[in-house]
Structure formats: C-alpha cells, structure tokens
C-alpha cells in the first residue's frame, strides 16, 4: 500500500509515529485512593494527594502496574522488571504538584509490535517503542468565565499508559488501522475501554514528510488532540500537505507541537504555550523503583486471553472463513464470542455471513452495537437450524430474522405462530402446480424447447403458496407433470 503526495517539485511520502494515551481500567487512581469514575461533579473524585497538598505522598496502585504489564504482554513487548517513576516538571494550573509523575529513562514496557490488517488482505507490523505509566492532569474549563479558568482535578492522578509507536506508519489509513487494532487489543485485555469520546483513548501523531526514495527522516511536528478515529487520518493528511507546501515554497518545517482543530479540519501551532520546555526529569524520590517480583510476569502471561491475531488465524483455519470476515469478527471480543456460539456445530461460513451481513446490517441501521442485540446467539443458531433442516425456506428465514430483531422472540415461536413452516407434503402442493400449468399453455410450449423455464414455474407456485412450499419439492412435482 503506498500513499504519496504529489507536490510541484516531485512525489512525497509521509512518516508517522503515534503516541497514544490509554486510560488504565482501575477503580482508583495511580497514586491515590480517589475514584476514577467518569462524570462526577467537579473535584468530587479528588483526594488531598491528587490536589498536591503539602506533605502528600504517592503510593503506587498495584493493579495499574499489573494492567501495564498485561498490556505490554499483549503487545508482545519486553517487560522491564525494574522500572522507575520520574517527575516531569512544568507549571500548569491543572497540574497540582507542579510535576507529572511519569516514566522516562526506564519505562515498565520496552519494544513490542502490533500487526495491522490492510483491506487488501496484507498485513504490516508496526513497531512499539515503549509503554510507560503516568498520571493524568486535571481539566481546565475555559468557557464559564471571561477572566478566569476553572479547574477540576477529577482526572488528576488517573493512570494512563502512554504507548509510543515507531515511525513505521506510512499512510493515514495505516494510522487509523493502528488505532483500531490497538483499541481492540486493549479491550481484549481489559486494560483500557478505548472510549475516545470520554477521552480515555487519546492520540498524538508525529508527522514528517520526505521525498520518495529518501531514507532520512524529515523534521517532524507533533499533532495533539486527535480525539476520534476519523480525525486521525484527517489530521495526518492535512499536516503532511502543509509540510510539503512549506518545503516546496522554500520554507522549512519547524519542529513544534501543533493542535488539531476538528472544526476547521486543520492543525495550528501551539507555540505560544510551548516556550522553551525543559522538563527536568529526575527519579521521584517519594517512590521506590518498580521491581516486579519473581514469577509476576509469568503469572500474568498465563492469564492472557486469546488475542485478536491468534483468534483470527484460528477462525480462518478452523472455520474456513475468509481473512477479511475473520478480521471483522475478531475486532471485538464480544463479536468473536457471538460468532463462535452461532458457528458451533453449524456451517461456519453461513454463520459468519449471517452475523456480518444480516445482524450487523440491522444493528448498524438502528445505530446499535452488539451488546444491544435483541437476537441472542442461540436464537440465531436455531434460525439457521430451521433453515438448514428445511423447516423454513431461505426467503422466509430473512423474514423470520427481521421479526426476531423487532420482537426478540425465538424463531420457533415465530414460525409456529405465523404458520411459516415450509410445506413439503406433495399432495398439498400438487393442486397449485396443476393450476399454474393449466393457466399457462404458452410457457409450457417454451418449456419443451428450453427446460430452464422450470424456474419460472417454481416461482409462480411459490408465490401462490406464500413462500411456504419447499422449492425442491415443487421443482420435482413440476418436472414430473411437465415431462409426463
């Protein structure tokens, strides 16, 4: 897959690395006992530790360490058994201590990788540079007053995993696929719920451009605040084009932090706020080094669920579904489980088809996701059984499915109550066949020259029986009558 930008002076390619901040799923904060719950009144989920009160000390939340290691293992990364929390010093009103406790020289997770699946069936491996734990800052509210900013520290101290990729991404689409895949893995692991709207998955993109064929990197800009999957591609596209235009007009790209403005669809410099940052990192003397006990990593490794890549391979191998369908089915753990429940002991390709095309189609139309499905996996399976054992026809199956979706009733009950059972008994079908043959002598003539016209007769009979007749039985009777 290649993505290039045509400039006035030649062809350019883009180089992108992503820094993702993923909020750790935990009850309490990284260093305090205050709740991480979303949407609380201002400063309700704040302990005096989070407010940076004098004399307050951080104490590490064991679960957050576990979650970081779990995520590292999910990214096939090196786990560092000795990591260090450091202080990143800067002043900002939503940063109560005057420093963010983060990890710098010794992160808890080192090199790993993430495989993205391209729509053309190819896959690419994007390197993970590191994952480290750090605390979130509070929230500034600017729109309540003209001359003041209001500060809510509910988020202050919530655990984040900063996951940094290598500059391996070459297209805006790959960036989106990377985000989707990362989100999928985090959700499988139960370490981040990946909700971009609530801000618990945030993306900064490092973007640079270079002439096609060049191997050195250009000067990069860091784009902050890319807060939805849609914006990831748009921000990168805009920024890359901006850089190409700059260079081609004889200017240079200045390494800086830029903000993505979703309304205008453009990036703009944050230089005003930037000044000369000098974070003065040093190990936090209030915290001990994070030394993982013997057997700790192994125990977490043993508890990992089957992750999307492994599941996808298994679906392809065991169920014979296409790589594309497998990719769709494994994106969410819940979807994969639903599919497996339907496919169990049935035709898996058929099951995949019904889950992806029929069920997802109706869900998407209603703006729902799988957790809100009115059709249980068991019921969908029973519907396929009714179809496959000839109780209902393929045409009726879709009607029954629609009713199931609306009413949540079981397929057997719908078929029973609405009398949709397929008719297979010849004596009740024969009169309809006779009627159709008698009323269409012309078509009978045509049949003599072209036996394929039998399909037309079958259609007519089906119509008369309201779709309930078994098409194979109808065909048999018609053949006998027309040939006889």
């Amino acid at each position: 897959m290649s993505y290039t930008i045509e400039g006035n002076t030649g062809t350019w390619e883009i180089v992108v690395g992503l820094e993702v901040h993923a909020q750790v799923i935990s009850e309490s904060k990284l260093f305090s006992g205050a709740s991480t719950a979303y949407g609380a009144p201002p400063n309700a989920n704040v302990s005096i530790v989070d407010a940076g009160m004098p004399g307050m000390l951080p104490v590490v939340n064991a679960h957050c360490i576990r979650q970081a290691v779990r995520t590292g293992l999910g990214l096939k990364a090196q786990i560092n058994k000795d990591s260090v929390f450091e202080r990143k010093n800067y002043f900002y009103p939503d940063l109560p201590q005057g420093y963010q406790i983060s990890q710098y020289l010794h992160p808890i997770v080192g090199n790993g990788e993430l495989v993205i699946d391209m729509p053309n069936g190819e896959s690419r491996t994007i390197g993970i540079t590191r994952l480290h734990l750090e605390q979130d800052a509070g929230k500034s509210v600017h729109d309540r007053s003209d001359d003041a900013t209001l500060i809510d520290l509910n988020r202050s101290g919530v655990a984040l995993m900063e996951i940094v990729s290598e500059p391996d991404i070459r297209t805006p689409e790959e960036a989106v696929l990377y985000m989707r895949k990362l989100r999928s893995i985090l959700r499988y692991l139960g370490t981040c719920d990946g909700n971009m709207e609530e801000g618990n998955l945030r993306c900064d993109a490092n973007v640079s451009v270079r002439r096609r064929g060049e191997t050195a990197f250009g000067t990069r800009c860091e784009i902050k605040n890319v807060n939805s999957m849609r914006f990831v591609a748009r921000a990168i596209e805009y920024e890359a084009r901006r850089q190409v235009d700059l260079i081609e007009s004889g200017q240079t790209v200045v390494q800086e932090t830029r903000l993505f403005d979703a309304q205008k669809g453009e990036t703009r410099s944050m230089r005003g706020k930037e000044e000369a940052h000098d974070y003065r990192y040093f190990p936090d003397p209030d915290l001990l080094p994070v030394i993982l006990p013997e057997g700790y990593v192994e125990e977490i490794a043993a508890s990992l669920p089957e992750l999307p890549d492994a599941k996808k391979s298994r679906f392809i191998a065991d169920y014979g579904v296409t790589p594309y369908d497998a990719g769709v089915l494994v994106m969410e753990q819940q979807t994969a489980a639903y599919f497996e429940a339907v496919a169990q002991g049935r035709d898996a390709k058929q099951a995949a088809n019904w889950v992806i095309n029929e069920l997802f189609g109706l869900l998407a139309k209603g703006g729902k996701d799988l957790s809100e499905t009115p059709i249980s996996a068991d019921d969908l399976g029973r519907l396929l059984d009714l179809l496959n054992d000839g109780t209902i026809s393929g045409r009726l199956a879709k009607d029954v499915f629609a009713i199931m979706f609306e009413t949540g009733q079981s397929p057997a009950r719908i078929v029973e109550e609405r009398g949709l059972k397929q008719v297979t008994d010849t004596s009740s079908i024969e009169p309809f066949c006779e009627e159709v043959i008698a009323a269409n002598p012309g078509q009978v003539e045509t049949y003599r020259k072209n036996p394929k016209v039998i399909g037309w007769f079958v259609g007519q009979v089906m119509k008369k029986t309201g779709g309930k007749a078994n098409p194979a039985v109808v065909t048999g009777i018609l053949q006998k009558m027309l040939d006889g």
Partner: protein, 95 residues
C-alpha cells in the same frame, strides 16, 4: 560554571520566580559561587558507580486498587484563594 544574567533569567522563568532586573546580576554572582563550590565533585572518580536510587532498600510497596478517598470537593477547595461551584478558580489560561 559561571552563570550569566540571561541564564539566571531563563532559570527564574523555568522556576516561575520573579527576579527583578536589578537582582539578576547579584544573584548570578551568588549562584556562580555556589556552582563553583559544588564542582569539586568532579574530582571524585565515579566510573562504574551506580547512582544511589534508594537509601534504605525496601520491598516494593503497592496499594490495593480500591476507592478509599474523595467525595469532599469542599474540603479539597477549602484553602483555595478562589473557588466556585466546587472548582478552583485561577487566572484565565490562554490556550
């Protein structure tokens, strides 16, 4: 290492401490003297020496993940120079 006025101004800004112009020069001299004095550390051979990380080695000390605090915005903001509706009020932040 001797500090000049501009370095003092840069450090003062990093530390968010107002140093009036007429105090920059004397402060630069004072800090330079201190730095000169601490630079005797260069004499110490520290090749291969691990920097000290923990004075008293202790086992990892982690807490259980449970909610044990919060629910008192009034207490948290009780000492604030300005507060409103549970928020801290600070001078306008220009984005």
């Amino acid at each position: 290492m001797s500090l000049d006025r501009s370095t003092v101004a840069r450090i003062a800004n990093l530390a968010r401490i107002d140093v009036p112009d007429d105090q920059q020069e004397p402060l630069a001299r004072e800090l330079s003297n201190l730095l000169l004095w601490v630079e005797q550390l260069r004499e110490v051979d520290t090749d291969g020496v691990e920097p000290l990380r923990m004075i008293m080695p202790l086992p990892p000390r982690w807490r259980e993940d449970s909610v044990t605090d919060g629910g008192h915005a009034d207490v948290v903001t009780a000492n604030a120079p300005a507060a409103l509706d549970g928020f801290f009020v600070v001078p306008k932040v220009v984005e």
